[in-house]
Amino acid sequence: MKYIDEYRDKALISKLTDLIKDSVRGEYTFMEVCGGHTNAIHRFGIRTLLPESIRLISGPGCPVCVTGRSYIDKAVVISGEEKVIMTTFGDLIRVPGSGSSLEKLRSEGKDIRIVLSSLEALETARRNPDKKVVFLAIGFETTAPGTAVAIKQASEEKIRNFFILNAHKLMPPAMEAVISDGVNIDGFICPGHVAAVTGSGIFSFIPLKYKLGCVVTGFEPADLMQSILMLVRQKNNMIPGLEIQYSRAVSEEGNILAQRIMTEVFEPCASYWRGFGLIKDSGLRLRKEYEEYDADHAFSYSANEDEDDAGCICGEILRGRDIPSSCPLFATECIPENPVGACMVSHEGTCNTWYRYKRNG
C-alpha cells in the first residue's frame, strides 16, 4: 500500500538500525504514550532492532485501559434497563466491571451493539425512535471530534433518544501526570494521531517546562526507528525539543475543523484515569447546551468507586512503573480470552500486546 510499504522497506530500516547503534552514548529510556505505538513496536519487533541501552516503556495511551471500572459499571446498569440499545466500540464490550461485563449482558439477551463510529450509533437512534440509544464515548482527541459531530447532528435534527456515556480524555495532562509521578524517562514518542487533530503544539510545554524530548511519531517501522534516532540525538546533544517525524499527517496547527467542533460541544473537566486517579482538566464534558445528550443526566444510577482490580497491576503498568511479566496474573489467570484487567482487553493494551508478541518479557 502506498505510504505504508515504503516505511516498511528493509534497507531503510537497516540503515536506521545502524544509525541508532552508532549514535548511542549511554542509557536511554523513552515512553510511548499511544496504545497504537505499543502495538506497532511489538508487531514490528522494534525492540529486537535496538541496542540494549535503549529501553522503551509504555504509558497511559490506551483508551480502554485508562477508563475506570465505575464507567463499565454504569454502562452495565444502563444496558440492563428496558428499551435501551447500548452501542459501543468493540474492545469495551469485554472489559470486566465490578460484577458483570457488557459481553455477559449481551449473552443474556440485552441489546448491546458494536458500532464502528458515533454516526452509526446516531443512525441506530434514528431507526429506533421508541428506544433510548446510548453510545459509549471513550477515547482521546482523535475520537472526541467524531462524538462531537454526532452530538451536533442529533441537536440539529432534534433527535431526543440519543445519549452518550462520556469518558473522553485529553492526552497532555496525563503525560504531565506521568512526569510528575517521577518516572525516569529521557523523552516521549508522542502520539501521531492525537497530534494530527490537535497539532504538535500541545506537547510544547514538555521540553520547555520539563526538559524532555518529544517526537511526534507515525506508526510504521521506519517512523518509529527514525523517531527513536531523533530522541537519541536530542539527548546526546542535550537539546530537548519538540520535533515532528510524522509530518505527512501532523502539522503544528493540526486539524482546525476538528478542533473547532470538539470545542463547540465539549469543555475540559477533571477525569479519572486508571492508575493515576483524578487528573485536573484531563477530560471533556458536554457543554451546558448539549447536556440533554449526557447519559449521566438521562439515567439514574449510583456510581461505584473507581479502584484497581485485586492482584492486577494495570495501574502500575499505565504509569510506566512496571511491566506485564511482573504481574502474577499475567498469562495465567489473566489472558485475552478471560481478562482480569483492562490492559489485557484491548489490542492497544500493554498486557494484551505482550501476550500476543512477547509473553516472557
Partner: protein
C-alpha cells in the same frame, strides 16, 4: 460521506472534518472519520530525509 479503502476493504467514512477532500486523496481514518489528509509531498520528504541521514548529524560525536 465518502468511500474509503483500507487494505482492500471499502468503508463509508465521514469527511466533514476534512477541507477540500477529493477522490484519490489519502486520509487518516479513525473511528469512521477522516481526521486528516496525508500530505504526499511530506510523505516523500520524510523518506528523503531518512535517506540523507548520516552520522554527521550526530553533532555530539
Amino acid at each position: 460521506m465518502a468511500e474509503v479503502s483500507t487494505g482492500g476493504s471499502v468503508f463509508k467514512a465521514s469527511i466533514q472534518m476534512i477541507q477540500d477532500a477529493r477522490p484519490g486523496d489519502y486520509i487518516l481514518l479513525h473511528a469512521g472519520f477522516a481526521i486528516q489528509k496525508i500530505s504526499e509531498e511530506q510523505a516523500l520528504e520524510t523518506l528523503r530525509i531518512i535517506d540523507e541521514m548520516n552520522d554527521s548529524l550526530n553533532t555530539a560525536r
